[in-house]
C-alpha cells in the first residue's frame, strides 16, 4: 500500500504539492508514482526563474524502463529546483515526500491549490489504478 500523507494535495497525474509557511509551494511525485516507475536513473528539473502554468510539463523523471513527464499542479514561477537529484535521483524513490522533492514554486494563483485532490480522493485514484 502506498504512502499518501494527509497534509498534501495531489494531482491525478500523481504529483503532490505542499504549501510552505513562506507561501511557496513544494512539488514532487507521489510514492505510488515512484513505485510504478521503478528505480529512477535521471531527473530533469526546471530552471529557476521559469514561469509555469498549471498543467504544463515541468520536469521529466526517467527510470530504466520508462520516462514520465511531471506536470506542474499550479501556476507560478520556479524559485528553486532540487539540484541534488542530478547526482542522486534515487532520492525520489527512497523519500518521495522529503529529500526527493523536485522544485519549489512561487504560486501566481494560490486558489488553484483548492482544485487539487486531497489525500483521501487521491487514495481512491491509486486504489483504482492498482486494479
Amino acid at each position: 500500500m502506498s504512502n499518501i500523507p494527509s497534509d498534501l494535495k495531489f494531482n491525478e497525474s500523481h504529483e503532490w504539492a505542499r504549501l510552505e509557511s513562506d507561501g511557496s509551494i513544494t512539488i514532487g511525485i507521489s510514492d505510488h508514482a515512484q513505485n510504478a516507475l521503478g528505480d529512477l536513473v535521471f531527473v530533469e528539473i526546471p530552471e529557476a526563474g521559469r514561469t509555469l502554468s498549471k498543467g504544463e510539463v515541468a520536469a521529466v523523471v526517467e527510470s530504466v524502463k520508462a520516462a514520465s513527464d511531471v506536470y506542474s499542479p499550479l501556476s507560478g514561477e520556479v524559485i528553486e529546483a532540487n539540484e541534488s537529484l542530478g547526482t542522486s535521483p534515487e532520492q525520489v524513490n527512497t523519500d518521495p515526500y522529503g529529500q526527493g522533492w523536485l522544485f519549489k514554486l512561487k504560486p501566481s494563483n494560490l486558489g488553484e491549490l483548492s482544485s487539487l485532490l486531497d489525500a483521501a480522493a487521491y487514495a481512491k485514484i491509486v486504489e483504482a489504478a492498482s486494479h
Partner: protein, 494 residues
C-alpha cells in the same frame, strides 16, 4: 565465456600492415593537422579475426537458435540472397555511376518496385527509405503534403491505436502532427465507436497495422476505411505484419492509401544485429506525386538497341516536383533491396503466397499447443495471425514469476525469448512469432521448454527468477548502466 575488449590486446607498434597502402607523407597545413594520434586498436590480423569471431559466438541468431521474437519476423535469411547481392560488380557500383553503367542494377530495382506493387495492391513504390521508421516518416509526410497541396491545412491530427508500435506516434510527432490515441477493445479489434468520436475535419489520417500488434486481423477494417475516408483523412498501413497476409489480402484492397514495408521482415533481408533495415513505401493514386525520390522508371527502347528491350532511368525532383524529397544521400539501402529482390524472385508467385500460409499455420499450432498445456492466450476467441500473445499474469500473481523471468529462462533452454511487454496493453505478455521457416519439431521443442519452465516455476520460483545461468553473463544491472554511464572505453591515464 568472456572476451576482453579489443583495446586490451593492443600494443604500440603492432598492426596488420598487409592492409595498408604504401606509405606517403600527408600534406597537412599546420592549422589543420591532427596533433595527437588517434587511439585505435593496434593488433595483428589474427588477433582481430579471433576477437571478433569470439564475439560473434556470444550471440544468439537465426542461424543458431529459434528466435520467436514477435513483430520482428525472424525467418531464415537465404544465403543466396547475400551472395548474389555481393557480386563484385554490385559491391563496386558507385551510387552516382552513369545510368549507362547501371542498367543491371536498375533493372533489379524496377522489378522489385513492380513486384512490391503487385503484392500490396499499391500504384507506386519508392525504395529509398532506409528503415521501417523512415518508411513511416515518408508515409506521414506524404499524407501531410497531400492535404497541404489541396489547401486543406487544418488536418494535423494522426489517429493511432493504443496498441501501435512506438514508432507510429513518434513518427507522427516528428512530422509535426498531433497524436490522437484510440483504444483497442477486449476482443482485439479497434473501438469503432471511439474512432467515430475522434475523426473529423482535423484528421490527417490514421496509422494502422493489420493484423494488429496484438496478433489478430482487424475485422472491421472496411468500416474503419470508410469512416476515415468519409472524414477526409487517409489510411496509413504499417507493414510490420505484412508477412501474415502475403498473397491473402492486400493493403491496397483494404483501403489503405500508403504503406511501408519492412523488407527485413517479410522479405527476409538480414536483421544484422539491429540494422540495416529497409522501409520501402507504396502509395495509392492520390499520393503518387509526393513519393520520395529517387525511384526507377522504365522506358521501351527503340529497335536500334537489340540487346536490351528496356532502358531504366532514375526519377528525381525534376520529374516529381511535389515530392517530399530525399531521405538518404543516395537511394537508401540498395544492398538490402537487392537481397529482397533475390528472395522474391526465388519464391515467386506461389512461394510468396505460402509465406503467409505457413507462418499462420505455425503460429496457430504453437498457440493451440500452449493453450492445451495451460498457458493463457490474451485473445482466446481469436485466430492467431502470424503471431500471438500469451499472458503470464496468473504466473506472476500466483508464483511471482513474470513474463521477463520466463523469457530469461528460455535462453538457458537454447531459445531466444519472445518479445516481452509489448504491446503495452496486455499485462505480462509474451508476443510470439515463429515464422514459416521453422519446423514442427522446433515448435514442439519450444513448447516442451515452456512447459518445463512452468514446472520449475511451481517448484522453485527463485531458480527461474535468477535465470539465465548458462549465458556469457547473467542479468545485467540496467540501473547502474544508466546512472554510471560508461559509453566508451578510456585507457587508464595512470
Amino acid at each position: 565465456m568472456h572476451e576482453p575488449l579489443i583495446f586490451t590486446y593492443s600494443r604500440p607498434g603492432r598492426g596488420a600492415p598487409a592492409q595498408y597502402p604504401p606509405p606517403v607523407p600527408p600534406e597537412v597545413p599546420e592549422k589543420f593537422r591532427r596533433r595527437r594520434r588517434v587511439v585505435l586498436p593496434e593488433v595483428s590480423e589474427l588477433q582481430a579475426v579471433r576477437h571478433f569471431t569470439r564475439l560473434s559466438q556470444l550471440n544468439f541468431s537465426i542461424d543458431t537458435h529459434f528466435y520467436p521474437l514477435g513483430s520482428c519476423t525472424m525467418k531464415y535469411n537465404p544465403r543466396a540472397c547475400n551472395e548474389l547481392a555481393m557480386l563484385p560488380q554490385m559491391l563496386g557500383r558507385h551510387p552516382l555511376a552513369p545510368e549507362s553503367l547501371s542498367q543491371g542494377f536498375l533493372a533489379c530495382m524496377h522489378e522489385l518496385q513492380e513486384m512490391l506493387k503487385e503484392v500490396t495492391g499499391m500504384q507506386g513504390v519508392s525504395l529509398t527509405p532506409m528503415a521501417g521508421a523512415q518508411g513511416e516518416f515518408a508515409g506521414v509526410a506524404m499524407i501531410r503534403a497531400y492535404h497541404q497541396a489541396r489547401g486543406d491545412t487544418a488536418r494535423e491530427e494522426i489517429i493511432v491505436p493504443d496498441a501501435a508500435h512506438g514508432t507510429n506516434p513518434a513518427t507522427a510527432t516528428m512530422c509535426g502532427c498531433k497524436v490522437i490515441e484510440v483504444r483497442t477493445l477486449e476482443n482485439g479489434d479497434i473501438d469503432i465507436e471511439a474512432l467515430k468520436q475522434v475523426v473529423g475535419p482535423k484528421t490527417a489520417g490514421i496509422m494502422l497495422t493489420n493484423p494488429s500488434t496484438v496478433g489478430v486481423f482487424e475485422r472491421r477494417i472496411q468500416e474503419v476505411a470508410s469512416l476515415v475516408h468519409g472524414a477526409g483523412g487517409l489510411l496509413y498501413y504499417d507493414g510490420a505484419n505484412l508477412n501474415a497476409i502475403l498473397g491473402k489480402v492486400r493493403p491496397g484492397d483494404m483501403g489503405f492509401d500508403v504503406i511501408h514495408m519492412n523488407l527485413h521482415k517479410t522479405f527476409s533481408t538480414p536483421h544484422g544485429g539491429g540494422g540495416p533495415g529497409s522501409g520501402a513505401v507504396g502509395v495509392g493514386r492520390r499520393l503518387l506525386p509526393f513519393m520520395p525520390v529517387p525511384f526507377v522508371e522504365r522506358e521501351e527502347v527503340s529497335a536500334g538497341h537489340a540487346q536490351l528491350r528496356y532502358r531504366y532511368r532514375w526519377m528525381d525532383e525534376r520529374d516529381l516536383p511535389q515530392t517530399i524529397g530525399r531521405l538518404s544521400a543516395f537511394m537508401g539501402n540498395a544492398g538490402v533491396l537487392l537481397r529482397a529482390y533475390v528472395y522474391m524472385r526465388m519464391l515467386g508467385r506461389a512461394g510468396l503466397e505460402r509465406v503467409a500460409e505457413y507462418a499462420t499455420l505455425n503460429a496457430n499450432y504453437l498457440l493451440a499447443r500452449l493453450q492445451q498445456a495451460g498457458f493463457e492466450p490474451a485473445y482466446p476467441q481469436r485466430r492467431a495471425s502470424h503471431e500471438f500473445i500469451i499472458t503470464m499474469k496468473r504466473q506472476a500473481r500466483e508464483l511471482g514469476v513474470n513474463a521477463m523471468d520466463f523469457a530469461k529462462r528460455l535462453l538457458d533452454y537454447g531459445f531466444h525469448a519472445p518479445t516481452t511487454y509489448f504491446p503495452l496493453l496486455v499485462p505480462e505478455c509474451l508476443l510470439i512469432e515463429p515464422t514459416e521457416t521453422e519446423s514442427k519439431q522446433e515448435l514442439d521443442a519450444f513448447v516442451d521448454a515452456l512447459i518445463a519452465i512452468q514446472r520449475e516455476a511451481q517448484q522453485d520460483a527463485a531458480k527461474v527468477k535468477g535465470a539465465p545461468y548458462t549465458l556469457p553473463v547473467r542479468r545485467l544491472d540496467d540501473v547502474r548502466a544508466a546512472k554510471q554511464l560508461d559509453l566508451a572505453y578510456r585507457e587508464d591515464p595512470g
